[in-house]
Structures are given as C-alpha cells and as structure tokens.
C-alpha cells in the first residue's frame, strides 16, 4: 500500500522516533514505521532528519527500520457510515479491529474508517452544468431515519459539474460526480472525502450565539446555560462526576449529533456508553440515542500519541456535520489527558518545559481547539454549530493548575464541580458559586419566548438567595443557627429546599433524568413563590416551623420525581395548593 521509503529509524524513545536520511517528506505526513507497519505522524522536520510520533506501541522497533510515507497528512475519512460507530483516536473502527484481533488491539492493523462495501442510497440534488462552490450540496443520503447526510463538494474544490450519477445505491468509493475545476482539470467526487485533522474546515461566517443548547439538566439550563456553538469547561477532581455530567448532557441535549471523545479515560466508561446509548430513547425523535452518536475511544491504556490526535479527529468529524447544517455537540473527556499527552511527547522530544513540565505552546493548542467551536453559516448556506464541552481533570482537584487556568481563558462557560457536593452525593455536583456562564445575557430573549418573562426574575431572585446563604452560613458556623432571626433562617431553609428539590437531579430516575425547560421554569417559580409568600407570612407573624410543616412542602420536595415532563398539570396543582396554604396562613395571622 505504502512503499515510498522516506527515511530510516535513528533513535527510539517510547512513542517518539527520530528518523534519518529524509529526502522528501512533508510536515504532518502520515507514515508507517517498520515491518510491523505502525501508524505515525511526522511532527518535526530538520535538514535530513525528522521526528515521528507513533500511534501504536513501539516495542521491537530498532534503528535502521524503514519509515514509509503515505504522501498525505493525517486525515479522517468523512462520509456516510460514521454515525453509531466507535473509533479509536486515529479513526480506526474498533469493532472491525475486534473482528481481526479479538480481545486485544494488535499493532499495525489497517482497517478503512468507512465501510468500503456498504451501498448507500444517494439522491442527487445538483445537476450537470451547475456551477458549484466548495462546500455546496451535491445530493443526500438518508443515513439514519433522522439524519439526512448531505454530500458536499470538498471545501477546497470548485467548478462546473460535468456529470452526476442518477439516484441509486453507491459505495463510498464509487464516483458520483465529475467536477471541471476552474483550472480546467476534471476531478472525481465521491460520497466520501478526506480532511486533515489539524486544519479547521472553512465556513462563510460566524454567527452570534443566541440559542441555548438545552441539556435537560436543571442546574445547567436554568443557572449556567451554554449556547449552541459555545464552549464549556467542566473541571473537577476524581469522583466529582465529570463523566456522569458529560454523559447526562450527551444523552439529553438537543443537538442533532453528538461526538463523544473518551480521551485517556477508563475502558469501562466507554463500554457503559456502548451498552446504554443504544437502549436509551431520544425524547425529541423517539429513536435510539446511538443513532445520533459517534464515539471516539482512546482509553488510558491505549497509546498516548493517539490520545493527542483523538481530540482533533473528533472535532473534524463534528465540523463536517456542521458544514451540512447540523448542530453538533462534542464531549471531550478529558482534555487534561490530552494536555498530558502533549507534555509526554514534548518531554520525549526534549523540548524546554514551561509550567509543571507542560510545553510552552500548551495555551496556543488549547485556544486553537476551542476556537474550532462556534455557530456558523456553512459554505452551503445553512447554519450549523459545534459546541465543545470539555472535561478537565486537575491534579489534586486544584483549579490553579495550568490546564484549568489556560482553559478558563478560552471558554465562556464554566461548570465547576465541587468536592463537598460530590461527597454529600449531591449530583450534579456543579457549584452554584464558582460556576458561570457568559452566554446568559445573549439567551434571555430565547427563554422569555419559550417560558415567559417570569423566568429571568425568578432566576435572579434565587441566585441572590444562594449568595446570601453563603454569608449566613459563615455566621451559622460561628454562632449556630439559633442566633439568626426567623427571616434569615428562612433564607437557609429556602436554599436547602432549592438544592434538594431543584439542583439535585437523579440521572437514574425515569422522570428526573431529564427536565423540559417548561418544567424547569415552573419548578423554579414554585420555589420562588414559596420564598416570596413565606417571607410575607413571617412578617405577619407566622413561624418558621409552620412554614416547614406545611403539607405542600413535601410535595415541592418530591415534584421532580412525581410530575412527568409531558404532563405538567401536577405542578399547577402544587402551585395552587401552595397559594391556598399561604392564604390560610395569612388569614390565621391577619
């Protein structure tokens, strides 16, 4: 397959190989090393020597082994057949590898990323004689019942369409159209195209971020929402629920497609996703969640350099679907492992380290990655977006470490996971004090349209209470709760109620796993109402005990479990009952 020898091995140090006698080779060229055909990428060129990072275990590679060049950059194959597939960090389909090498991943296996034999039903929309720019639509393939795969002209090509095949079944390698480029050359187009992973795919323009990515997770949607096309970082020490939060978002968010990157994490977590997603039903389409998911698994025991590449593989796939006019969300779990892979490779190349051994170019790399997110007008004229939700695993749970700090500079939404909440099994353990979202102001319009103007007032009121609670808790720690007047103790009570009844969400409960925005707004309103009417009643002489012992209090605590998303009348009843109870109390003290 590849027989162009570009050099020979000079030195082997783990996944980093020095190559000598380079004649012709290009930067980021895909290479194969040794007779075992290990996949690698050329990452540094200097005179007649080069450095190659190898994406597989290099045991047995010896000096003078040949290095073959593929003549192209490390790229992904983009076309029908990606959805529902699980890939490794360099887009090798793991199921196909399993068919060859059983339990373990053997080295040097070469499997095409897209199935070469499968035929797809292609419906042309462009006609011969049309003038087509790069990124415009040639036709469509109904890949899953809910996803119409739009076949695009590669972004770098443009010209006049000489011919196009009629509607019918084709493989990804059959020519479906011929383009006469402006330079007068003819170019065959296929259902599949290639794109180098380290290069951002072009678009027409960036659009403002004004629509939220609804996740069904109350603490996120109501307090710290993310926009479609936005960037989020979830930092948290081990056991605080990064993976749980990402999986919940991947399951329930209203993106058209999810790219889930398991980067340097546990093998069993991927197995969990593989088992659970096909069973789960997407509430919007009624179809299995796996039909809108692409998985990339480079677990912690798989080669470290492929971990570095996995992030780029994932985002390139996401961009490709964005270019068709879809909203894509990427879960990257965890970007710290990616940064550590950079550090390891940098160390092996004997580069000068900056903070904690990380290379000085770490912030640049992080910025480049997050800047590939955004809401865009694609070249085909449709609007699409890529949202990035990246987990960060700070050593010792210390947010002052370089990866968390540099990531914070380039993201606009921060979901800080809190060890104390996780220890108390308050999930999702997103801290309401340390988290923030810069997207909030841009999206109030959307919310007001969906659920009415009350939402923003309720949210502001409750956020203020949560902040007042912190100060009160400091007093309580010194003198005990009894020293506070009832009006202030009531703030503590309402905050506890809000945490239990609203912020905590049980990912394993049938009803509670996901809340619609309507349910969220109503729930929040009921708690705000309890606060408003309750503090009125206290002023009029009611006691804290009376407010707590109200029957409706227990209903409020359990409303997240008892009221299903598709019938919110239960919440109206609770609200009415609350008003009635408060009226009675008022009458009592009038």
């Amino acid at each position: 397959m590849i027989d162009r020898i570009i050099g020979r091995v000079k030195r082997v140090n783990g996944p980093v190989i020095e190559v000598m006698g380079i004649t012709d080779a290009e930067m980021f060229e895909l290479v194969r090393v040794g007779e075992a055909n290990l996949i690698g990428e050329l990452i540094k060129l200097e005179k007649d020597s080069a450095i190659v990072q190898v994406y597989e275990d290099t045991t047995g590679i010896a000096p003078h082994d040949p290095v073959y060049g593929a003549g192209m950059q490390l790229s992904v194959e983009l076309g029908p057949g990606m959805i529902g597939t699980i890939y490794d960090g360099i887009q090798r389909p793991l199921e196909a590898i399993r068919a060859i090498s059983e339990i373990f991943i053997q080295r040097g296996i070469s499997v095409p990323s897209l199935d070469r034999k499968k035929k797809w039903h292609f419906v042309p929309t462009a006609r011969a004689g049309d003038r087509l720019a790069g990124g415009t639509i040639l036709g469509t393939v109904q890949e899953t019942p809910n996803l119409l795969h739009r076949i695009l002209v590669p972004p770098t090509d443009q010209g006049v369409l000489e011919s196009i095949v009629p509607e019918g079944d084709y493989t990804v390698e059959e020519t479906i159209a011929v383009l006469k480029t402006d330079e007068g050359k003819t170019k065959d187009l296929f259902l599949m195209q290639r794109w180098p992973i380290r290069v951002q795919r072009p678009t027409s323009k960036r659009l403002p971020l004004e629509t939220p990515l609804i996740t069904g997770q109350r603490v996120i949607d109501a307090l710290f929402p993310v926009a479609k096309g936005g960037t989020v970082s979830i930092p948290g020490g081990f056991g605080t629920g990064k993976t749980m939060t990402q999986q919940a978002v991947a399951k329930w968010c209203d993106a058209d497609l999810i790219v889930y990157i398991g980067c340097g994490e546990r093998g069993n977590e991927i197995t969990d996703v593989l088992m659970e997603f096909p069973e789960l039903i997407d509430p919007r389409t009624g179809r299995s969640l796996m039909e809108r998911t692409i998985l990339i698994a480079n677990t912690s025991n798989m080669p470290v350099s492929a971990r570095e590449a996995s992030i780029y593989t994932g985002i390139t796939m996401a961009e490709y679907f964005r270019d068709q006019g879809y909203h894509v969300a990427i879960m990257a779990d965890s970007t710290s492992r990616w940064a550590e892979a950079l550090r390891e490779l940098s160390g092996r190349m004997e580069e000068m380290p900056a903070e904690e051994g990380f290379p000085a170019y770490l912030p640049t790399k992080i910025a480049e990655f997050y800047e590939r997110a955004g809401s865009m007008e694609a070249l085909c004229g449709r609007n699409g977006s890529v949202s990035i939700i990246g987990a960060v695993s700070p050593p010792g749970g210390d947010f002052s470490e370089p990866v968390t700090q540099h990531t914070k500079r380039f993201i606009r939404c921060f979901w800080a996971l809190d060890r104390h909440l996780a220890n108390a099994r308050h999930y999702p353990a997103i801290s309401w004090l340390d988290s923030y979202s810069e997207y909030l102001s841009g999206m109030t319009g959307w919310w007001e349209q969906e659920v009415g103007p009350q939402w923003f007032a309720d949210r502001t009121e409750i956020m203020e209470l949560l902040h007042r609670e912190v100060r009160l808790q400091q007093v309580v720690k010194l003198v005990g709760p009894d020293a506070l007047p009832d009006t202030q103790r009531f703030i503590l009570e309402v905050c506890t109620l809000f945490k239990n009844a609203f912020l905590q969400q049980n990912a394993y409960d049938q009803i509670d796993a996901y809340s619609t925005v309507q349910k969220q707004a109503k729930m929040m309103h009921i708690i705000a109402l309890y606060w408003q009417r309750g503090s009125e009643a206290l002023k009029n002489g009611a006691t804290l005990m009376q407010l707590k012992k109200m029957k409706v209090y227990q209903d409020i605590i359990k409303m997240k479990f008892s009221v299903p998303n598709d019938d919110l009348s239960g919440l109206d009843k609770i609200e009415a009952r609350l008003e009635r109870a408060m009226d009675q109390m008022e009458a009592l003290h009038a």
Binding site: E340, G396, V479
Partner: protein, 466 residues
C-alpha cells in the same frame, strides 16, 4: 530456565563491556540495531545472569535498565546479550500455589514452571468494544464496602491507606470472604508485593493458609530488600498470569497489589536518572499512562467466563490524598476505599472514611434482583445523613454540643451509631448483605422520618417502621 529460551538468547550477539553505568541503567555503544523494550541478559564477571530491558535505542547507543540492580557490575567485565524479543512470562494454571520473585522465577524451591504459553508481560490494550460491563455484586461481608461502596466483579477498587493503618487486614479479609452469592465458581488470587516488608508478605501467606485457599494463590514477591527496579516489572508479571487465568482458564481472579506507592517511587527513580522532565513532585509526566497500563488490565470480556478484579493498596504519603500517586490512581480506578486515621484512632475497624470513599460501578450492581430493592436509596440516604453529621460536628466543636438543636442532636447520635454499629465490625465478621442493609435502617431510625428525603414512602413503611 527452559532450553528453548536459552538457545534463543545465545543466538543473539554478545557484547563485552559496557560504556556507562548509572544507577540501574547501563549504556552500550555500537551495537547491532536493537529493538525498543527488547529483553537483555547482563552477565557479570562471576557469570551471574541479570535480566533487563531496553529503554532507548539509537544508531549510536542503547540504554537498558537492569532489574536486579547494577551493583558489582564493571565497565569492561560485563557482557550483554540481546534476545531480540520483549520480556515474556510462561504462564499456566500450575502456577497457583507457588511463590515467585518479581520477574516470575520460582523462589519456593520448586521446579521452574513449564508451559507452552509465553505472554509478553507488557500486555496489550483491551479493545473497549470487547469489554463486558461489570455488574455482578461481590459480597465481601464488610458493611462499609457492601452497603456503601459495593465491590463489583471485574472492578478496580484501590485502598487508599496510610502507614500504620489496617489495609493489609482489610485486603486479606476481602480475599477470604469475597463471594458471588448463589454461585460456586473457580477463583484464584494473584498477589503482587512491591517493596513491602517480609512480615507483611508473611501475614498474607498466613492469612491465605488459615482460610485454606493457599493452593489457589500465586504470589509474586519483590520485597523491600530486593532491588527497587524489579518492582517495575512485578505488577506486570502478576497481571500477565491473571490475564491468562481469567481469559484463557475461565477463572475469577482477584489481584492484590501492594504497595503502589513503592512502585511509583521506583518509576520516579528511573525517570530521574534518565534526566527526564518531571511533572509533579518529581514524578514523570507519564505516571498516569503507566499506572493506567496496569489498572486497565482488569475487567471482564465479552464471551469469556473469567474476570480480573483489582485491589491495589497504596499508602498515601503523609495521608495526603492529593499526592500524585493516590490522585492519578483515583482518576483511573473505578472508585476508592479511603482510610481515615482519626477513625482508626477511635478503634473503628475498618476505618473507612464515609464521604471520600466511592464505588463507581455500584449503581449497576445493586438493587432489586442483585442485592435488595431498597439498597440504592438507603445508601444514598446514609451518605446524605452522614455528610450532614460532619457539618454538625464542625458546628458543635465551635459552639458546643449544648447549643445544638434537638434535630442536630439526633444527627450526632446517628453519626455515632453509624460508625460504631454499621461501619465497625470484627476482622473475622462476615455479614450478609441483608444484615448490612437491616443495620443501615436500624441506625437511620435515630432520625425522624421527615428527614429521610432520599428513600421512598414504601421503603419507609417496609423497613423504617419495623
């Protein structure tokens, strides 16, 4: 040693004299092209053979580490042979009941194992699609684990301990008592000791002996007075045997590895000598990947009957859970059992800290049909209540117990009972899961029913009222 291996080694070229010796590393110039991670034999002037592997290979020189240390080696008098292949272990079921050194050579006086199956000790990454998600509840008979941090077959669950805490006792108790209810399956224990003292190893041997399971145990010992470099290979040989037993011989294997902190220190030693750029506390940047290579070898495989359950023990230096060793371990393993010195001081065994301990696989292995239907909610309720106890205790230490509200007094009482009745148990006490759960409800009864937000009304009626 088997003859086949010897002949293969002899077929390799032999080099007389090395160019530099630095700690456990040797440098040899001008060799034939030598493969990365190739096994070497290093013969000292008295003819003793020491094993090692190639860490770096280039056209000009080879760097190798010698497992048995370099003391007594001389520059001109050392001969080096390259085997042309990585370090392998010949594995078989007959290795159970035997004692080996860190490299897998018998040290119990018995004959060398003979087997046709030779496995590369570095193993290979398990394809995530071949994994079977673990969900079989293992009853350890220990309430703090079964009730709150349930162990699942195929899980990797470390014990984060400190010097002087009873981690060995707990590991031995788990090895003795662990069972899957209602099944009788073939099981084995693989024990890897890295840099632990002789008496610790003896303690485990005795404990296995007393429970009559010694014939099902393979021990790999690289003790405190063995060369520290040997520890780097010990867990790999142990796991190589475990993989064979689990995925070829269909056995359920429990692997106990102690003490991972010593392993990491050896890794740091090598890294420093090689002049690598350190990350935190001088540990190499690849510590995470290296630990993952070990821990990720546990689990279950689709279509295979066996499993590897991994129980690494590590002592947290200065009881600091944010130290790189426990920290990176926690990021890879599926939970952790954390010991608390203060509980140990109060005589509570096992001193399992309630809040930082966690079992990630618990959610799918408990509940109706697996343990009991009330288990998930009960555990969640106990966690929540115990977490509040910690707050109340802090408050009480500032304002005094007298100033607390009656409800807070209830919580204090709950905390006391939880630690003394539920968590605390005898070292030979084997509680069934029902006993554990009933005990949980018993201590919950110190709290008024309005405080129980995480259990359902039906559960309250069935268990709380009784």
């Amino acid at each position: 040693m088997p003859d086949a291996k010897n002949s293969r080694l002899l077929s390799g070229r032999e080099y007389v004299g090395v160019d530099k010796i630095d700690g456990p590393l040797i440098f040899i110039r001008k060799t034939h092209p030598v493969g990365y991670r190739e096994l070497i034999e290093c013969v000292d002037k008295d003819g003793h053979v020491r094993l090692g592997i190639v860490l770096e290979s280039s056209t000009t020189a080879v760097v190798a580490q010698v497992f048995e240390g370099t003391s007594g080696l001389t520059l001109p008098g050392t001969r080096v042979r390259f085997s042309g292949e990585p370090l392998t272990l010949s594995v078989s079921k007959e290795m159970l009941g035997r004692v080996f050194d860190g490299l897998g050579r018998p040290i119990d006086g018995g004959p060398a194992q003979r087997s046709d199956v030779e496995q590369d000790v570095n193993g290979m990454a398990i394809n995530p699609t071949s994994r079977q998600y673990p969900r079989d509840f293992v009853q350890t008979g220990i309430s703090a684990i079964d009730g709150m941090n349930t162990l699942i077959r195929g899980q990797k669950l470390p014990i984060f301990s400190g010097n002087g805490l009873p981690h060995n006792e707990l590991a031995a108790q788990i090895a003795r008592q662990a069972k899957i209810r209602g099944t009788a399956t073939e099981f084995a224990v693989v024990f890897a000791a890295m840099g632990v003292k002789h008496d610790v190893a003896q303690f485990f041997v005795r404990s296995f002996e007393e429970s009559g399971v010694l014939d099902n145990v393979a021990l790999f010992l690289s003790l405190a007075d063995d060369p520290s470099i040997e520890r780097l290979i010990t867990p790999r040989t142990a796991l190589t045997l475990a993989e064979h037993l689990a995925f070829t011989e269909d056995m359920h294997v429990l692997v106990i590895m102690t003490d991972m902190t010593n392993y990491c220190e050896s890794l740091r030693e090598i890294s420093t000598i090689r002049g690598e750029i350190p990350s935190r506390k001088g540990y190499p940047g690849y510590l995470y990947s290296d630990l993952a290579e070990l821990y990720e070898r546990s689990g279950m495989i689709k279509g295979r009957k066996g499993s590897i359950t991994l129980l690494p023990i590590l002592t947290m230096p200065n009881d600091d859970i944010s130290h790189p060793v426990p920290d990176l371990t926690g990021y890879i393993t599926e939970g952790q059992i954390v010991f608390e010195r203060e509980m140990d001081g109060r005589g509570i065994y096992p001193p399992v800290a309630g809040l930082p301990s966690l079992s990630r696989l618990m959610k799918d292995g408990i509940g109706e049909g697996m343990t009991r239907e009330d288990h998930p909610h009960l555990a969640s309720q106990l966690f929540a209540a115990y977490s509040y106890v910690k707050d109340v205790r802090n408050l009480a230490s500032v304002i005094g117990e007298e100033e607390l509200t009656p409800l807070d007094h209830n919580y204090l009482e709950f905390g006391k009972l939880f630690e003394q009745k539920f968590v605390s148990q005898r070292k030979d006490e084997d509680r069934s899961i029902e006993q554990t759960l009933d005990l949980g409800w018993e201590v919950l009864r110190t709290l008024p029913v309005e405080e129980l937000h995480r259990v359902t009304d039906e559960e309250i009626e069935k268990y709380y009222g009784g």
